[in-house]
Symmetry: C2
């Protein structure tokens, strides 16, 4: 059902936790399954220096957020905003169709964290 | 959002894994979120001697299955079949309404494992 990349990011998720002084925090709840995702970002000179996520969500949500945070760290904010749940799924090498909503959770939480930063600045 | 019992069963789930020679194996996929749950049971003299679960599901699914397997181990098959997702949620001290479908996953996978055993015997 799940490929090796998805399993790796599920079993050894990157960037789990919370940041001490986040510049932006985003929370998003899935209307499909009710799961919540929190993403926090550290931003300096418009570059995403660090990102962490926290969820009670399923394996696909964990794998998607692990991959998505890896994708945005080191990127300018503008480029990070171009990431969609489709590009997350592509990087993961695919997700079963029923689990697409889990990658949307990661996508939306990241965008909401960046908007939180933008509003504060 | 989640009480201490739910968090405990999520952080330290009981009975995770697979049995070596299961007497029954049940798999159930949630139509709500797409998550899957596998439950295996060891049955001797109509008593559930052991049970293990495996899931890619969310924290609520993990907590529900951890609690549900604890509830059936040591019970006669007939009593185990009386367990519903409502009794699992009661034992957990409650789940948010949006997460009720995750406890259904545990309930159905257990029943399907017992039916698998019954069909083989
Ligand atoms: S959201 Fe799928 S099992 Fe909980």
């Amino acid at each position: 059902l799940y490929n090796d990349t998805v399993m790796d990011h599920f079993m050894n998720p990157r960037n789990v936790g919370e940041l001490e002084n986040p510049d932006g925090t985003g929370v998003y709840g899935s209307p499909v399954c009710g799961d919540m995702m929190q993403v926090q970002v550290k931003i300096e000179d418009d570059i995403i220096k660090d990102a962490k996520f926290k969820t009670f969500g399923c394996g696909s949500a964990i794998a998607s957020s692990s991959m998505a945070t890896e994708m945005i760290i080191g990127k300018p904010v503008e480029e990070a905003l171009e990431i969609t749940n489709k590009t997350i799924i592509d990087e993961l090498g695919g997700l079963p169709p029923v689990k697409v909503h889990c990658s949307v959770l990661a996508d939306h939480a990241i965008k909401s964290a960046i908007y939180d930063y933008a509003q504060k600045n």
